[in-house]
């Protein structure tokens, strides 16, 4: 009985497509190392995909950027897992709560770009409410208050990433703080 249970569950592990995911789309099957102190950022989307992000790319009070962390020494982009995706936005520093302000750099804040609900991209900025939106199920997060949930089904805030500006470059000041990705079912 027990062996049978083992085998059936074991055979259920779906890793067949692992090899080609990174090239074809968003990697879903891996847990590559996430951002760490000193990492810089590159555009994850759009015409400048793969190019470095500098502080002036982030307009005050607007437009969310989705980014991948990059090892500055090797230039390796840490896009081996969707879970490494970072959402960057620049806010008015006066609007940040104390914990958020402590992690921000010149008003720029960073969070996991993967929703805590079912793991979709946190890909949109709503200017009227100054919130981050996951368009899959309309969860909204307040980036000035540690990305706490404002609306929608997300069960908890997004993981935060502390930032620093070093010699004019935007850098991670550590790894993610909090749980990245969706809760277990």
């Amino acid at each position: 009985m027990e062996r049978r249970e083992l085998l059936k569950a074991a055979a259920g592990v779906g890793l067949v497509l692992r090899g080609r995911q990174a090239a074809a789309g968003q990697a879903v099957g891996d847990s590559a190392p996430g951002p760490r102190a000193g990492d810089r950022f590159v555009f994850a989307l759009g015409a400048r995909r793969g190019e470095p992000i500098v502080p002036s790319d982030l307009a005050p009070g607007g437009a969310l950027l989705l980014a991948w962390p990059m090892d500055p020494a090797s230039g390796a982009v840490r896009d081996g897992s969707r879970l490494n995706q970072v959402a960057l936005v620049r806010l008015d520093p006066a609007t940040l709560d104390a914990a958020t302000a402590a992690r921000a750099a010149d008003g720029i804040v960073a969070y996991s770009g993967v929703c805590s609900h079912t793991g979709c991209d946190v890909s949109e900025w709503i200017d009227s409410t100054r919130t981050l939106l996951c368009p899959c199920h309309d969860s909204e997060f307040d980036p000035a208050r540690g990305a706490e949930v404002v609306l929608g089904p997300a069960p908890r805030r997004l993981a935060a990433l502390p930032l620093a500006i070093v010699d004019g470059a935007l850098e991670a000041a550590g790894g993610f703080i909090g749980r990245v990705g969706a809760d277990p079912p």
Binding site: K8, A9, A11, V13, G14, V16, Q21, G29, S123, H137
Partner: protein, 573 residues
């Protein structure tokens, strides 16, 4: 079998699963399971529910008549079972000679003794940790031979040994990393296992694939969007066909005499029609595919160049109706676009008979009486940089929950959503593999003066008349079961109720308040001469999303608890 390098980790996970299952499990061994044949799928015994809607015609009808309008008031729970997961529990309990098979979100499969609730085995798929789940649900198993088939959110089809739950084979159908995923129950027809995929919001190119039931090897694959050199390819400008959607995420119906399967297809992507001028075949259509070859035997496009997110994935019911003294082998589809479509099936293709709105619809101005082609009101058609409000909402007059047909009353029962509209505006969007590719933002609106949002409608298809209608304050997300006992069973509302109605009058005869909202397909079966009703209660997915949108509009917060439970009912003895 699994690749060797992953075995150790997989076994560690499996051990955890086994611990939770072992104390409750019974093992009947390999004996005693009745194989499912083509003949049994075509003519199932009255006590069995062998597929998604029980029969190939999609009726959702059980010929069992022990539970009646007279005694349904004494319907009581016989057993329940917690699935251990949240989100949308939409699958029907499928029953073959006393064995029940139920799927849940996250691709679990449970096998039970259907009468007692004894757990026989459990399959639990380990899903990739970073998988995004736009629709965390699964709509059930297919049965054939001695196997149980499931499609997975990481885009595999898995065949399990029906007696033991052991994996017999698993086959990757497409790549989840670029937006393909499976939520539908497979269709077994002509000895093949057929699936389509979701992913219309993520820039996929839809298809139906047929796999060999014994090996999982692909037998045929037919795209629901033609390439430029195929018929209909000229309905897509440039390269737009490559990411045009036309997803397939509900189980087809099947006419064994014609050997045609009938698949509903999703909307085009991105959502704004002005991003892809043309009819965009075969989006928002029914496609008749030859079961042996996958060849397109006919189609009808319900609406062309869609801009409303109105997937027409729900397949048509196969019902012989009479119109003006003529017997018509019909295809009946209560559309997400708010019209009730009557089409005619035949060896040479699909013909148009009639279409009438069954909910308030303001986007169509006319239906061509010969072809069924609708004309549009530009005021209620959104575009890129052009906001518009339209009714019904993007969720539709009816979403995926299937309607049911009762040959005794000759009524079609439609779970409808009324008085909800959408305001939408398109914006340019660039295709990036695996990312959202809708190019639109939208909000829900409720029509002024609306006193209800959900309906259960009963239509006489011969006369084309609405016979009765029940109204609910909540939107209705309830799949429908109807029985020879003169009953209709449905949940679907946010108040957690599961209800029984008189099929002839619509009177509510029974209800029970369950753990969560009931968006699962109810089924009925018999064991040792006793009739049962079974359903899953587990709110989530689009029902939850719509509730959130309506709450946003009204400034309210409605909490519908999550977490799935399988319920089985019978008349108190």
């Amino acid at each position: 079998m699994i690749p060797t390098p992953h075995r150790t980790a997989a076994l560690a996970v499996a051990a955890a699963c086994a611990l939770t299952v072992a104390p409750a499990a019974q093992d009947d061994g390999d004996g005693g399971y009745t194989p499912v044949t083509n003949e049994r799928l075509r003519n199932p015994e009255p006590g069995n529910w062998l597929m998604y809607r029980r029969t190939y015609d999609g009726w959702g009808y059980s010929p069992l008549d022990q539970i009646t309008t007279a005694n349904v008031g004494r319907l009581k729970p016989v057993w329940t079972f917690s699935t251990g997961v949240r989100e949308g529990h939409e699958a029907p309990p499928v029953v073959n000679d006393g064995r029940m098979f139920v799927t849940t979100p996250q691709n679990q499969v449970f096998a039970f003794d259907a009468a007692t609730g004894d757990l026989l085995w459990r399959y639990a798929r380990e899903l990739p940790p970073a998988l995004q789940q736009l629709h965390p649900t699964n709509r059930g198993v297919a049965l054939y031979g001695d196997k149980v088939y499931i499609g997975t959110v990481d885009t595999h089809v898995v065949a399990l040994d029906a007696a033991t739950g052991d994996v017999v084979w698993e086959q990757a159908v497409e790549d989840p990393a670029v937006g393909y995923y499976i939520t539908m129950a497979p269709l077994v027809a002509d000895g093949k296992v057929m699936v389509g995929t979701s992913g219309g919001e993520l820039g996929i190119r839809g298809f139906v694939a047929a796999l060999d039931a014994e090996t999982g090897q692909e037998v045929w694959k037919t795209h629901t969007i033609p390439s430029p050199d195929e018929p209909g390819g000229d309905t897509w400008p440039g390269e737009t066909w490559r990411n045009g959607g036309a997803s397939v995420w509900a189980t087809a119906t099947y006419d064994p005499e014609l050997n045609q399967t009938y698949w509903g297809t999703g909307n085009p992507g991105p959502w704004m029609g002005d991003a892809r001028p043309g009819d965009n075949l075969y989006t928002n259509s029914v496609l008749a595919l030859d079961a042996s070859t996958g060849a397109i035997a006919g189609y009808h496009q319900y609406h062309w160049n869609g801009s409303w997110d109105w997937d027409e994935i729900d397949p048509p019911l196969l019902i012989d109706i009479e119109r003006d003294g003529r017997a018509i082998p019909a295809l009946v589809h209560p559309g997400r676009n708010g019209y009730l479509w009557i089409l005619e099936r035949g060896p040479s293709g699909i013909g148009f008979i009639d279409a009438e709105p069954y909910v308030y619809q303001n986007a169509f101005t006319a239906i061509d009486p010969r072809t069924g082609r609708p004309s549009y009101d530009p005021e209620h058609t959104p575009g890129t940089g052009k906001p518009a409000s339209f009714c019904p909402s993007l969720t539709g007059g009816k979403n995926w929950p299937p309607a049911a047909f009762n040959p005794g009353t000759r009524l079609l029962y439609i779970p409808a959503i009324e008085n909800v509209c959408t305001s939408m505006e398109g914006r340019p969007v660039e295709y990036t593999p695996g990312r959202m590719f809708t190019g639109a933002r939208s909000t829900y609106e409720i029509r002024d003066g609306a006193d209800h949002l959900g309906e259960l409608q009963a239509w006489n298809l011969d006369s084309g008349e609405l016979v009765w209608r029940r109204e609910f304050a909540s939107p209705n997300w309830g799949p429908v079961l109807t029985t020879a006992g003169g009953l209709v069973f449905m949940g679907g509302t946010n108040d957690r109720h599961f209800r029984a109605f008189d099929a002839a009058s619509g009177d509510e005869l029974w209800s029970i308040r369950t753990n969560s909202g009931v968006i699962g397909i109810p089924s009925s079966f018999a064991v040792d001469g006793r009739q049962y009703i079974a359903v899953q209660s587990g709110w989530g997915v689009d029902a939850q999303r719509m509730q959130g949108g309506l709450d946003r509009f009204r400034g309210e917060r409605t909490h519908v608890p999550q977490g799935g439970v399988i319920w089985v009912f019978a008349i108190e003895e």
